[in-house]
Subunit: 212 residues, 2 copies
């Protein structure tokens, strides 16, 4: 089980904030490891905010190839993909707690501003990810991935909640290539693999240089 509760930090409004009558304060739900939150093609009625844990959103091709579109960690909002139906599937990476809101409430009542901000942010991330997938080498991808998680964690010691396979499917690589790249970065003294899920960044600047 994940002893890796990604951040204890930031527990946002642990309080169901007081909010105008109509607005949906959000219900909390718990999900276990690999549990499905919603499936591709399913009606999209809710929007989710990660309270703790982590979520992956993904698409799969009929032959099993999978692309993880994004990992969501505490504070992130997801579920806005697709119009009336989800274009992506979503699963909990480890034990995860989510705040669930009605989608229409989020998009409308609540003042569309929050929705627009969330969407702009997602769109921005999507662009960066495209550049990564289209034009970066394996090493650059892994370095960017680590730096992204460093940013979320706020510290150089990362407890990655996801498996190598998840990372591979996120970066558009194979599990073997991801593993080898980790090993390489360790050999280059840029990271320390304390365990396979625990990575310490030893030389952040070098990693940043790799990504340019």
């Amino acid at each position: 089980m994940n002893a890796i509760a990604f951040n204890t930090v930031d527990v946002r409004p642990v309080v169901l904030d007081r909010r105008p009558a109509t607005a949906d304060p959000g219900v909390r739900m718990n999900y276990g490891r690999d549990e499905e939150i919603f499936g591709e093609g399913e009606a999209s009625r809710y929007v989710y905010r990660v309270i703790s844990g982590a979520v992956r959103t993904y698409r799969v091709l009929s032959d099993g190839r999978r692309q993880i579109v994004e990992f969501h960690t505490p504070g992130d909002i997801f579920g806005l993909d697709g119009e009336s139906r989800h274009a992506l599937g979503a699963e909990a990476v480890g034990e995860t707690v989510l705040q669930v809101m009605r989608r229409d409430a989020f998009l409308n009542e609540r003042g569309a501003d929050a929705a627009i901000q969330a969407l702009l942010k997602k769109f921005h991330r999507a662009q960066a990810h495209m550049l990564l997938l289209g034009r970066h080498t394996a090493c650059e991808r892994v370095a960017a991935f680590l730096l992204d998680f460093r940013k979320r964690a706020g510290a150089d010691v990362l407890d990655l909640p996801m498996s190598r396979q998840d990372i591979a499917d996120y970066l558009g690589l194979t599990i073997e290539t991801v593993s080898r790249t980790f090993t390489q970065l360790q050999a280059a003294r840029q990271i320390d693999l304390v365990s396979c899920r625990r990575v310490v960044l030893r030389n952040r600047q070098a990693l940043e240089r790799i990504c340019e």
Copy 2:
């Protein structure tokens, strides 16, 4: 590296236009081939709708690698990337006419609904593109690209406005691979290369099968 030009700019604001007080119907502007519409990092004050022609939005790495994030054809809206500054650059692919609107007007006054719809659509496309870049073969990418343009054109005869280099940078391939793949598809009787910019789809179903 990319064959991006330094062609002489051809007069920007060909436009004048009576602009009603608040509700912004949009000013029209013309752009010449390869002319910059906005640059990466530039303040993002406007949102654009393509009237005619085509636009590419892209990012470049310092060493010249370029990823075209999206092609925009008539009816498409772009310029919503980034928050206060553009995360992408935008250039006219060929002679292009745009309708320009103030960004804040688009996002607010105008009823955020249009903005949300546009963003959701873009986000959706971005996801599909990630799957393409991360998990598709060269052949699948080119087939998907052609089908995407077929959809926009509404006919099996496509007049592609962009160069092979543009296509390559959009699909995360090299120009040579794109060229070879076109040749292959022609050999397989799935397309006809009337000229390098004019492609006829001879067997759409086969192409769809390639993309699954």
